[in-house]
């Protein structure tokens, strides 16, 4: 059976996700979808606006934290909910991607709790069955 793109990771105070993918590009996209699915039902989020993201970090783990934090920035500063992530390039230290979504509309969107931040506790990006696995815990 194929691995799901992401699963929810349980933690007493907070929540996290474990993402699986065949490529690093897909892994970063799945992790982002996992994080936003904790915050809203993504089925109802239209892909009306696009944000381009181009970031660098010193390693894969730091890159994952930066990528997800960058998306939280748009959530807080511009009230953007994203439901699709196209990662064009992901290396160990650089990521270029496009995130698609729309401004939050509490009447239309089914919202859950907000993610405050991406923690480094139990953070992991590692090879798995010829692909990759990422584990990340959020502060709720």
């Amino acid at each position: 059976m194929p691995r799901p793109p992401f699963e929810v990771l349980e933690h007493t105070a907070d929540a996290g996700i474990v993402a699986h993918a065949r490529t690093l590009e897909e892994l970063f996209a799945n992790a982002a979808a996992g994080m936003f699915s904790l915050m809203a039902d993504l089925g109802g989020v239209r892909q009306a606006e696009q944000r381009d993201i181009d970031i660098e970090a010193r390693d894969r783990e730091a890159l994952l934290v930066r990528w997800l934090t960058e998306l939280l920035y748009y959530l807080d500063a511009e009230e953007m909910l994203f439901s699709r992530f196209d990662v064009d390039e992901a290396t160990d230290t650089r990521l270029r991607a496009r995130a698609y979504g729309e401004r939050i509309d509490p009447r239309r969107h089914r919202l859950h709790f907000g993610v405050k931040a991406v923690t480094r506790h139990m953070l992991e990006v590692a090879p798995e069955n010829g692909g990759y696995r990422a584990q990340v815990l959020f502060d709720i």
């Binding site: 929810v8 349980e10 933690h11 007493t12 105070a13 907070d14 929540a15 915050m39 809203a40 730091a62 934290v65 934090t69 939280l72 920035y73 959530l75 807080d76 500063a77 009230e79 909910l81 401004r103 939050i104 509490p106 089914r110 919202l111 859950h112 709790f113 907000g114 405050k116 931040a117 991406v118 923690t119 480094r120 506790h121 139990m122 953070l123 815990l137 502060d139 709720i140």
Partner: protein, 487 residues
């Protein structure tokens, strides 16, 4: 993980447990856990005690890595952890403060009784739900410019006072007067400011709340009196929120800085999330300046929410918030913060950086940092429980000052993860269940209420009892909720 914590911990008395330094190579001091034997069973179920041991690795830590009875598994530091580092050779760790810098609580008193308020309760809760932005994407009613955000970060609640969102006496009843000294907004990133800008005056989500509560028990009449609390049936307002995206981004930014700093200063860490730098280093000083700035933003945030709370009461009840309803601030206290404080250890005075991660300051009667009106009682400590049971107000003690750097618990502490709570309460309409008990709840998403239900939390009464018995905090009063707003 350890086979059985009960075999590792050494019982000191009914409320204190020692985690010996020998438990893990690298611990500089032992751990000290405040808990009853019964609570220890729950505490030992996840990684919280391992995290108490990990905090003991940090350079400059003095005496103990401490944990309050509401301790639970955090990220890096346990939530409910207290650790003090010597300023001369110790470190400061953003993880020891948390992402939600100066997450904290405040309580407003009123002259209202439950009986008087009941007929208006639904209307009032609905009004508060409309007026106080909550949940994901809730933007504040104050449109602050970038320049004003910088002012907020220096002046804290005093900025709100200057803008007409506070009463002059409000700022006298807050930890550090609602404005910590040493804030350096230049050390807060543009991104952090942009995240915080639309969120000034918003509640947020997760465990943040605004509750209308009623006094159900008074344990100490004299102390309650000093707080304007007369007795059972009196209505109070309890607010729990922090520094929103501004604080979250500031912590995120500095964890990155500290990860490099820890390597640069050759600090060995058992968990990346404990990243830190010497207090005296540039990285340490920059973080303290930024953290303090974010903390002041949080004081202002809670003040704005209190302002709109007063307005909502006025609107619904048609009575003046000050002269008629007497909606004075009892106190405002931080429970995610690091502060430079003077303390005594074995008769010697020293300057320490006290990290309180999910722990509240609890200064005793007579302490110079306690407001004049509480000089005889000790500093009020506001301890939220869960939305189905009760919350407490306590006061700080001399024992806390000598044993825990003037610190105590911050709440109930979770026992169930969000998903476990949701699974357990599947099909249960929490809002309906609370309504049957006279508690009216409004939330952005009713389905999420299960995650914040009583079953997800420890009984805060047990937490407070341990600290009362241990002499760390004195119980003053207990409140039960009648109206709840959840983000």
């Amino acid at each position: 993980m350890a086979a059985s914590w009960k075999e590792i911990l050494q019982k000191i008395d009914d409320w204190r447990w020692l985690l010996p330094k020998e438990y893990k190579a690298g611990m500089r001091v032992p751990g000290l856990i405040f808990a009853s034997e019964e609570m220890l069973g729950v505490i030992g179920q996840d990684q919280a005690l391992e995290q108490v041991a990990n905090v003991a690795f940090l350079p400059g830590i003095v005496n103990y890595s401490m944990a309050m009875p509401d301790i639970h598994w955090g990220y890096g530091f346990p939530i409910g952890g207290v650790a003090a580092m010597r300023v001369e050779d110790g470190v400061v760790s953003p993880g020891g403060v948390g992402f939600d810098i100066n997450c904290g609580t405040r309580v407003l008193r009123t002259n209202l009784t439950e009986e008087e308020l009941r007929p208006h309760l639904k209307e009032l809760v609905n009004q508060l739900f409309r007026d106080i932005p909550s949940g994901i994407g809730g933007h504040g009613l104050v449109k602050a410019s970038m320049k004003e955000i910088d002012e907020v970060m220096v002046e804290g609640a005093r900025w709100a006072l200057a803008q007409g969102y506070a009463w002059p006496e409000d700022v006298e009843s807050m930890e550090s007067g609602g404005a910590l000294k040493g804030a350096n907004p230049d050390k807060v990133s543009q991104r952090a400011k942009q995240r915080g800008m639309p969120q000034l005056g918003t509640l947020g989500s997760g465990n943040h709340f605004l509750e209308i509560q009623v006094i159900d028990t008074v344990f100490d009449r004299e102390k309650a009196d000093a707080m304007g609390i007369q007795g059972p049936g009196q209505v109070l307002v309890f607010i729990h929120t922090g520094s929103r995206g501004l604080g979250h981004q500031t912590c995120t930014d500095y964890l990155e800085v500290m990860e490099e700093a820890a390597q640069k200063y050759k600090i060995e860490l058992p968990d990346k999330q404990l990243a830190c730098a010497p207090i005296s280093s540039k990285e340490g000083q920059d973080y303290l300046g930024a953290m303090t700035a974010a903390a002041n933003f949080a004081f202002c945030n809670r003040q704005l929410i209190a302002h709109w709370t007063r307005q909502a009461f006025e609107r619904v009840l048609g009575r003046d918030a000050r002269d008629d309803l007497g909606m004075h601030l009892v106190y405002d206290v931080a429970h995610n913060i690091a502060k430079i404080e003077r303390h005594r250890l074995s008769g010697r005075e020293m300057t320490l950086c006290v990290h309180r991660k999910g722990a509240t300051r609890a200064f005793p009667p007579g302490h110079p940092d306690v407001p004049a009106r509480y000089q005889r009682t000790g500093q009020p400590v506001l301890v939220p429980g869960d939305m189905g049971r009760y919350s407490y107000i306590c006061t700080g003690t001399q024992q806390a000052m000598t044993e825990t750097w003037g610190s105590t618990c911050h709440g109930a502490g979770r026992v169930q993860s969000r998903h476990a709570a949701k699974r357990m309460l599947q099909g249960v309409d929490i809002a309906q269940r609370l309504a049957e008990r006279g508690i009216y709840v409004r939330a952005q998403n009713r389905g999420l209420l299960a995650e914040e239900a009583s079953e997800a939390y420890k009984d805060v009464a047990q937490v407070v009892d341990v600290l009362h018995e241990a002499g760390i905090a004195d119980r003053v009063t207990r409140m039960r909720p009648i109206g709840v707003i959840k983000g």
